[in-house]
C-alpha cells in the first residue's frame, strides 16, 4: 500500500492540468517509435532497389544489391521492437494463429510475412541463386554448406534457368513495389485510423509515412554505400551518389509538402483539439519537431541538396556532404516518428492537460533496448554482405 501511494504521487507529478487516468503513463514507448522507423527503412531501401530494376535507372546499379540486403536485414528485425514491447513476448505468435479480421495489427502480421517471404526473400533468392551455386562449389566447410542450403542444393545454372530467374525476379519486384507501399502505408494506417487521437487521425498519415519511409531508406542506403566503399577501399561512384541525392531531394520535397499540407490543414480547420495541439507543438515537442525534424532533418538537407542541383562543388566536398546529409535525414525521420508516436500520447484527449514521457537507460523499454534493435540489423547486414557480397556477383544486366 505504501509503495503504491508513493508511486501514485510520483506519477501525478508528471502531469499538468486535466489528464484522464489512463493517459498519465505513456504506453507506447520508444520501442514503438522504432517500429515505424525500421519498417520505413525497409520500404525505402526496397524502393531504391526497384528504381534500378524496374525503372531501369542504371547508374544506381552499385547500390542495388546493398539496398536489397539492407531491406532484408532490417525487415528481419522490424517486428522485434513490437514483440519486446509486449508484456508477454512469448505470446506474440498468437497474433498469427488466431488473427481477427477486424484487427489492423493482426493483419499487419500477414502483410509483414508476405513482404518478408514473398517479396524480399524471393527477390534476393532469384537474384543470387546462380552465384550461390557457383560460390557453393568454390568454397569449403560451413560456408559451402550455407550456400548449398540456401540454394536448396540446386545446380542448374544454364543460361535458360538464369534467364528464368531473372524474369521471375523482375515479376517479384513488380509485385514488390505495391507491397512496399502496402507495408509502410499500413503502418501509417494503423496510426492514422485511431480516430480518437487528433494528432494521428488523418487520411494523409499513410502517405506521409510512405514518403518519409522512402526518404529514410534512401538516406540509409546512401550512407551504407559510402561506408562500404570506404571500408573496401574502392573508388566511389560519384554519378551514382549524385543520382541518389537527386532522388532523395525529390522525395524529401514531396514528403515536406505532404507534412506541410497536413499541418496547414490542421491549422486552417482548427478543430477543438487545435489549441491543445498548438500548445503541445510549441511546448513539449518544440525541439523534436521544429529543430530536429524540420530544421535539421528537412530544411537543411533540402537546401543543401537543392543547391547541389545547380552548383556542384568538387567530388571530395560532395562526398563529405553525402556522408553528413543522410545522417541528418535519418535523425530527422527518427524524430518524425518520435513526434508522431510520443507526441500523440503527451496530450490528454480531454484537451486540458499534458503528461511527460520518461524512460530509463535500461529495462525492456529503455534506450539500451532500443539501441540494440537498431544495431542488430547492421550486424545481420554485415553477415549478409559477407555471405552474399553484391560486388562479387557475376554481372547480369537485368534485362
Amino acid at each position: 500500500m505504501e509503495d503504491h501511494l508513493q508511486n501514485l504521487y510520483e506519477v501525478l507529478s508528471k502531469v499538468e492540468g486535466y489528464v484522464y487516468p489512463n493517459e498519465i503513463e505513456l504506453n507506447w514507448s520508444i520501442l514503438i517509435v522504432l517500429y515505424p522507423y525500421i519498417t520505413g527503412l525497409v520500404a525505402g531501401a526496397f524502393i531504391l532497389a526497384s528504381l534500378e530494376r524496374i525503372f531501369k535507372i542504371k547508374v544506381l546499379k552499385p547500390t542495388y544489391g546493398i539496398a536489397l540486403l539492407t531491406a532484408f536485414s532490417f525487415m528481419l528485425v522490424a517486428t522485434m521492437p513490437l514483440v519486446s514491447h509486449l508484456g508477454k513476448p512469448l505470446r506474440a505468435y498468437e497474433i498469427m494463429i488466431t488473427p481477427h479480421s477486424s484487427s489492423a495489427m493482426a493483419i499487419f502480421g500477414f502483410v509483414y510475412l508476405w513482404y518478408l517471404m514473398v517479396v524480399l526473400f524471393l527477390e534476393i533468392w532469384f537474384d543470387y541463386r546462380r552465384d550461390m551455386v557457383i560460390w557453393g562449389n568454390e568454397s569449403t566447410g560451413v560456408k559451402r554448406f550455407l550456400y548449398k542450403l540456401l540454394s536448396l542444393w540446386t545446380t542448374d545454372i544454364s543460361p535458360k534457368a538464369v534467364a528464368l530467374d531473372d524474369r521471375i525476379g523482375y515479376i517479384v519486384t513488380v509485385i514488390g513495389i505495391p507491397s512496399a507501399f502496402l507495408l509502410h502505408g499500413y503502418v501509417g494506417f494503423i496510426f492514422g485510423s485511431i480516430k480518437a487521437n487528433p494528432w494521428w487521425s488523418t487520411v494523409l498519415m499513410p502517405v506521409i509515412f510512405l514518403f518519409s519511409a522512402m526518404v529514410s531508406g534512401i538516406a540509409l542506403v546512401m550512407l551504407i554505400y559510402i561506408v562500404l566503399t570506404k571500408v573496401r577501399k574502392q573508388l566511389i561512384d560519384m554519378e551514382c551518389l549524385d543520382t541518389i541525392a537527386k532522388y532523395l531531394l525529390y522525395i524529401l520535397l514531396i514528403d515536406f509538402a505532404l507534412e506541410g499540407l497536413d499541418q496547414i490543414h490542421r491549422i486552417y480547420v482548427a478543430e477543438e483539439s487545435f489549441e491543445a495541439l498548438h500548445k503541445l507543438v510549441f511546448g513539449k515537442l518544440f525541439y523534436t519537431l521544429f529543430i530536429y525534424q524540420m530544421l535539421i532533418g528537412t530544411v537543411i538537407p533540402l537546401l543543401t541538396l537543392g543547391t547541389l542541383q545547380f552548383y556542384k562543388p568538387k567530388a571530395q566536398i560532395r562526398k563529405l556532404i553525402y556522408t553528413i546529409l543522410p545522417l541528418l535525414v535519418l535523425a530527422g525521420i527518427f524524430f518524425m516518428r518520435w513526434n508522431v508516436v510520443i507526441g500523440g500520447q503527451l496530450f490528454s484527449k480531454s484537451f486540458y492537460g499534458y503528461t511527460t514521457f520518461k524512460t530509463g537507460l535500461i529495462g525492456t523499454e529503455g534506450y539500451l533496448m532500443a539501441a540494440a534493435w537498431l544495431i542488430i540489423p547492421f550486424l545481420i547486414l554485415s553477415f549478409l554482405l559477407w555471405l552474399l557480397p553484391p560486388w562479387k556477383k557475376i554481372e547480369t544486366s537485368h534485362e
Binding site: 500500500m1 489528464v19 540446386t154 528464368l164
Partner: protein
C-alpha cells in the same frame, strides 16, 4: 518446370503446411467456443486469489465504527478504500479479539497527510457538480500545503486525523 522452381515451391509448401500444423497445435483448445477469445481465460481468472471482501463484511465485527461512519461525510466510502484489501483480515481476525493482531492480518491505517490527500488534494481533474444552488466538487478539495500545515516549532497537530475523525470527519 525447372528443378530449382520445384524445390522452391516445395520449400514454400512445407512452410505453409508447417504453419497450418503449428496453428492447429498451438491454438488453445477452448479458443472460439464463446467468441474470438480463449474461453478458458474466464475460468482461469476465477482461480486467482482474492484480496478484497464484500463491502459489508467489516460490519459484522466493527459495528461501532460502522455506525459512527454512517453518520458522517465518509458514509459512502467503503472501509477497504482506506484500509486496503481486507479479505484475509475479515476471515481470520476474529480469533484475536482484544489482542494484538499478527502482522499478516494488520490493515493499513491511513492517517497521514498524504493518505487523505489522495482524495482531498486540489486537482483540476476532479468532477465538479453544478445544479441549482449547488456548485461544488464531488469530494471537497483543499490545498493540503495550505490547510492547517504542521508547525514544526510549536507542537501543533500535524496529521489530518489529529483534528478530523477519519470515520466521521
Amino acid at each position: 518446370m525447372p528443378q530449382h522452381i520445384k524445390r522452391l515451391i516445395g520449400v514454400f509448401a512445407i512452410f505453409i503446411v508447417l504453419f497450418l500444423v503449428m496453428r492447429q497445435v498451438l491454438k488453445p483448445s477452448s479458443f472460439g467456443k464463446l467468441g474470438h477469445f480463449r474461453a478458458d481465460a474466464i475460468y482461469e481468472n476465477t482461480l486467482k486469489p482474492m484480496h478484497y471482501t464484500v463491502a459489508d463484511s467489516c460490519t459484522k465485527c466493527h459495528q461501532t465504527v460502522r455506525a459512527e461512519k454512517d453518520k458522517g461525510f465518509h458514509k459512502n466510502l467503503k472501509c477497504e478504500v482506506c484500509h486496503g484489501p481486507g479479505l484475509k483480515h475479515s476471515l481470520y481476525a476474529g480469533q484475536f479479539k482484544g489482542k494484538e493482531l499478527p502482522d499478516s492480518l494488520k490493515l493499513y491505517k491511513p492517517g497521514e497527510r498524504k493518505d487523505c490527500s489522495v482524495c482531498h488534494q486540489k486537482n483540476a481533474a476532479r468532477i465538479k457538480i453544478q445544479f441549482d444552488t449547488i456548485n461544488t466538487t464531488m469530494v471537497h478539495q483543499i490545498d493540503v500545503a495550505e490547510h492547517n500545515p504542521p508547525d514544526l516549532k510549536a507542537n501543533e497537530p500535524a496529521n489530518c486525523i489529529d483534528c478530523h475523525n477519519p470515520h466521521q470527519p
